[in-house]
């Protein structure tokens, strides 16, 4: 049951793609088969590797910063009731603005290049991670804390054995969402202002009207993002089921 | 000529392990009769209501309303459910007007009828309020008013006063009797309260444990103009003890199964 539905879905999407290709034609599209082939060619091209590297490194760093900063913001806000109450609407407001609007500011601060990309990814990831972390800590059952006091647990013990396991599922969800958003942020930054990386290649392909490359890159990005998310989701569900 | 007739009706819920909830049972209700069904928990009382109203088809047997076989919910039937069925997005007034507005009646008439129902059910101060602002009992009154205003010829009530305390239940019982006399409708009331059944009904159907069948149909013999004061009479006490004697064994059995 679990594997059948996603497979059917993928199958349907491929069929839909094929139908669109039949309707639109080579002027603006390529078939799924051709695209898969092109992607394979692209991945084995040595000139392509530095671009994947660029995006991967930028994303990894941005994501790492997002996790660390997000937790550093979210956990204390969850623990300190009033601070959390004050901060929550601010965080929610930040979550819903088009962060793209801040890109020029970041470029002005960091200049064009890797640091700016890392910053793009980071700002996209920090907000959801901190919101989820805050809620995770806030919603820890106070009875657990009282139990720990009765059992005279040390602070370290309390944190490792009670707080962390209790908050972990929700924090994991936040990290999963942060992962996806940091990726989107990194990519978006590369599309807007960069000379290297997958996002840049995509824009370059567009200006050159290189349909095959556009499709190959889009396919790569979609499959990667969806695939990792599916894995993280499975992990997420496992953690929540235990809780 | 009966108003409602059930002949050889059973109801089995399908599924991996089918549940034989009701029957086989026969029942005939006369026009304008007040009939109460009392029984052990899970005895299939609500199923009886579903089948009679046309909300669920009988697995075997037939259901007749006004001489015609029931398929789907027939015109002229009103139902008051156990759970709160008021529409939370409408005011009390609009809730009650809901069914009436759909008949295409002119707004002036709708207002008049709804106004009358609101007065009748004692909801006047709350006409513009939303159900979320009312207590459980008041919301049930809204549901009753909503049913009443359509002037149904058969009214089915499933534990309508379930959430209320005893005194309120007695008073609501009086209201129900008043409604019955005003509309002249046939009423089927499902209740787990022996007192309520004994006080309100012309006949009481005592239902067995699942699969629900009638152990006995007891005629109460009350005059039409009765109210809750009959609770103090001697014959009331005899009636309730007779019902309880019948039910006791069934309740024990139901608890053993539940």
């Amino acid at each position: 049951m679990k594997w059948r539905d996603p497979l059917i879905l993928v199958f349907l999407i491929v069929i839909l793609w094929q139908v669109l290709y039949a309707l639109i034609g080579d002027v603006a599209l390529r078939s799924p088969a051709t695209t898969a082939h092109n992607l394979g060619t692209l991945l084995s091209d040595p000139r392509f590797l530095p671009h994947i590297n660029e995006t991967a490194i930028a994303f990894a760093q941005g994501f790492a910063i997002a996790v660390v900063v997000g937790l550093l913001i979210g956990v204390p806000l969850g623990a300190a009731r009033f601070a959390g109450e004050v901060a929550e609407p601010i965080l929610v407001a930040l979550y819903s603005i088009p962060k793209v609007t801040l890109y020029p500011v970041i470029l002005l601060i960091f200049g064009i290049g890797m640091p700016a990309k890392v910053a793009f990814g980071a700002i996209h990831g920090i907000v959801p991670i901190s919101i989820f972390a805050m809620n995770a800590v806030r919603n820890i059952n106070p009875t657990h804390l009282r139990t720990a006091r009765v059992m005279r647990m040390s602070f370290l013990d309390l944190t490792l054995k009670i707080l962390l396991p209790a908050a972990l599922p929700e924090i994991a969800t936040g990290i999963r969402v942060g992962f996806s958003l940091a990726l989107i942020g990194t990519l978006l930054g590369e599309m807007f202002g960069s000379q290297r990386g997958l996002g840049h290649l995509l824009m370059q392909a567009m200006s050159l009207h290189n349909i095959e490359r556009i499709l190959a890159l889009t396919l790569l990005l979609v499959v990667f993002a969806a695939g990792i998310n599916a894995l993280l989701l499975a992990l997420d569900r496992r953690l929540h089921a235990r809780a | 000529m009966s108003h409602v007739a059930l002949r050889g009706v059973t109801r089995v819920y399908p599924g991996k392990t089918p549940v034989h909830a009701l029957g086989p049972l026969d029942l005939e209700l006369a026009q304008g009769e007040f009939f109460a069904v009392v029984g052990a928990s899970f005895s299939g009382k609500s199923t009886l209501l579903d089948v009679m109203a046309g909300l669920a088809p009988p697995s075997s047997g037939q259901v007749f309303f006004e001489e015609k076989q029931v398929q789907g919910v027939p015109d002229g039937i009103g139902v008051v459910f156990q759970e709160d069925a008021s529409f939370p997005w409408l005011t009390v007034h609009d809730n009650i007007a809901f069914g009436l507005r759909r008949t295409g009646a002119p707004e002036a008439e709708v207002a008049a009828q709804v106004g009358y129902a609101i007065e009748f059910m004692g909801l006047k101060e709350f006409a513009r309020a939303y159900p979320a602002q009312l207590s459980g009992g008041m919301r049930q009154r809204v549901c009753i008013a909503r049913t009443l205003v359509l002037k149904p010829r058969l009214i089915l009530l499933d534990e309508p006063f379930g959430a209320l305390d005893q005194q309120t239940r007695l008073l609501m019982g009086d209201e129900l009797l008043r409604l019955w006399r005003e509309t002249g409708a046939t009423i089927l009331l499902i209740t787990h309260s022996l007192d309520e059944a004994a006080m309100l009904a012309d006949r009481v159907g005592v239902m067995s444990a699942r699969p629900g069948r009638f152990l006995e149909l007891i005629a109460t013999g009350w005059p039409r103009g009765r109210d809750s004061t009959i609770v103090a009479s001697e014959s009331f006490g005899k009636l309730t003890s007779r019902i309880w004697t019948l039910l006791r064994g069934e309740s024990l059995r139901a608890m053993g199964h539940a």
Binding site: D5, L29, V100, L102, P104, L108, L183, T218 | F81, R102
Partner: protein, 250 residues
Amino acid sequence: MRNAFIVRIAIVVVAVGLLELLCRLGVIPSFTMIPPSAMAQSLWSLLASGRFSHDIAATLANVGIAIVAAMLAGVALGTALQGWPAARRTLDPLFATYYAVPMYAFYPLLIVIFGMSDFPQIAIGFLLAVMAVIINTLNGLDRVPAVLLKTARVHGLGFVQEAFHVRLPYAAPYVFTGFKLAVAYSFIGVIGAEFITSSRGIGYEISFAYNNFDNPVMYAMILFILLLVITVNMSLHAWERRLLSRRRRA
């Protein structure tokens, strides 16, 4: 509750004040950022002169179209899927993975297919928004209590009437949550797309100003978008809370 509000305002005021101070003192150089007061001034004069009126109008129109399309399609699809459990189950992985996919990656493809018009931007906004509407519509419809559906049958309502008169009204607050998200996502999608590449719109003008080292104009427009989006989203959030509070027990 009021205390938190006051503290929040204070924090924002302090943050902006700090920024103002750092800019004026030259700690933050003017080619990086101009003081908030200068941003506000620039915005005011731009709005007064009407220089970007047609850009603002274009962006808002595109956002509006994306929202309306997302609401219509989202509610319709959500209602349809609610009545077709098999399809819903098959699409479930899509719901779960949808927002992880970089929707902007489709933008170049859309431009190649449809050309450099407004449509690709609207499409991105629509694609981001529609899923939120579908998910929340489904959530609301799932919660309709069985007793209300029975009541609908007793009143003789057919399938379509039941959907319009009972199920959707019950689900309305949840559909409104979807609407709130649709607005936020439409802004994000359209403006993001305008940034990447476009021929007009607020995002385009910000990008243009950046490339021309025109900080006063750029920051004015950034401020405009931030204020607009925050105001709209907060208003919708407050409205949503009011709608849900009327239903407290439902």
